[in-house]
């Protein structure tokens, strides 16, 4: 099973979809499995509920608790297990989550205020109705990289980026993830772009004035 780390891109995909306030899977993941340039496929878990009930750790635990219904030996499921198998999916090694508060309700769930919590995983799990991970004796038996805490830190990662990123989120429990993906608040773009635009405005005006010193404005 691969060691899992946070991915900013995946959290942005999760954020973009959470903002739609819909309790259903992101259709883009199906239409275009390469929504994230670095991964061939992206998987997704969604939790929705009222804001008072929301807690990232609890939401993820809810998914993991599906383990009760899953039978590894027979690879069978008694009710819903897909969230659990995605969380522990052996070849998924990147995760990005985001939560969004929907004051106007969540389509397909509630008309009252609700929170949509989305986690995107890459590469996607739940493929070909296979088992989520191999159980072949010792941990990391099929690992070509280093083995830390019984998790494989493989070096196979897209675009040459190291699979072992400094942001630590152990496999199956990305609970260190901030609930709102607040690494990068979206108003930050605005706070950068607009003042830059103002600066550009002054520079352009100054350059034009320099180029045309005789410029004149009628009142």
């Amino acid at each position: 099973m691969l060691y899992m780390t946070w991915d900013e891109g995946l959290s942005l995909i999760a954020k973009a979809w959470a903002e739609h306030c819909m309790f259903q899977h992101n259709p883009k993941l199906k239409d275009d499995p390469s929504v994230h340039p670095a991964f061939s496929s992206v998987g997704e878990n969604i939790w929705t509920g009222s804001p008072s009930l929301f807690d990232a750790t609890r939401a993820i635990k809810k998914w993991v608790d599906e383990k009760e219904d899953y039978d590894y030996q027979g690879n069978k499921c008694n009710s819903v297990c897909g969230h659990y198998t995605q969380v522990v999916w052996g070849s998924s090694y990147k995760v990005g989550c985001a939560a969004h508060l929907c004051p106007g309700g969540v389509a397909g769930f509630t008309s009252k205020e609700g929170v949509v919590f989305v986690c995107n995983y890459a590469t996607a799990g739940n493929m070909d109705s296979a088992r989520p991970y191999e159980s072949g004796g010792a941990a990391c038996s099929g690992c070509s990289g280093s083995c830390v805490d019984r998790l494989c830190r493989d070096n196979r990662s897209p675009a040459g980026a190291p699979a072992v990123a400094p942001a630590v989120a152990p496999a199956g429990a990305p609970t260190g993830a901030p609930a709102s993906a607040s690494h990068y608040p979206d108003y930050l773009n605005i706070l950068i772009v607009r003042p830059m635009g103002l600066l550009l405005t002054f520079i352009t005006a100054f350059a034009l004035h320099y180029r045309y010193p005789d410029v004149f404005c009628y009142e």
């Binding site: 605005i190 772009v193 635009g197 103002l198 002054f202 005006a205 404005c217 009628y218």
Partner: protein, 150 residues
């Protein structure tokens, strides 16, 4: 960094500017911006709230520049050009923001805010266009009458 010409007098207010076409446009921009700000606040979309607050700040600074005739004192910049360039940037910027707001809206507040942003873009382009028409690039400065003033 100002007041390099003549004795410093008390600030005179150019109330006539408020009654001019561009003064009215600037005031309308402020009102529209405030309406958009209220909408985005109701919808609690921090990105758009930030954008409208910043723009309110910039517009009010420009408005007070003309209102207190500071453009006559701070002559290091040629203000009409600054104003036009600012309008051009703001039009593009608010067009993008309003389209973003309207396509990703989940609550009515964001949608209405997006519509106000679109109105703002229209007001800004009118403002910039009117001012740009009054600017001439090759006229010797200072001559107030000109034969080829269109």
């Amino acid at each position: 960094m100002s007041a390099d010409q003549g004795p410093v007098t008390s600030m005179d207010v150019d109330a006539a500017f408020l009654k001019s076409k561009r003064g009215i446009l600037k005031a309308a921009e402020m009102v529209t911006l405030f309406a958009a700000f209220v909408c985005f606040t109701v919808a609690s979309r921090p990105k758009y709230i930030t954008a409208t607050v910043l723009e309110l700040l910039i517009t009010s600074l420009l408005l007070s520049l003309y209102l207190f005739k500071l453009n006559k004192r701070l002559t290091f910049f040629f203000w009409p050009l600054v104003d036009v360039c600012n309008s051009v940037f703001a039009v593009v910027y608010f067009l993008v923001l309003s389209l973003l707001a309207m396509t990703t809206h989940t609550v009515t507040g964001t949608l209405v805010g997006g519509i106000f942003s679109l109105v703002l873009a229209a007001l800004l382009s009118a403002d910039g266009y009117i001012l740009f028409r009054n600017i001439t690039f090759n006229q010797p400065g200072g001559q107030s009458q000109s034969p080829d003033n269109q």
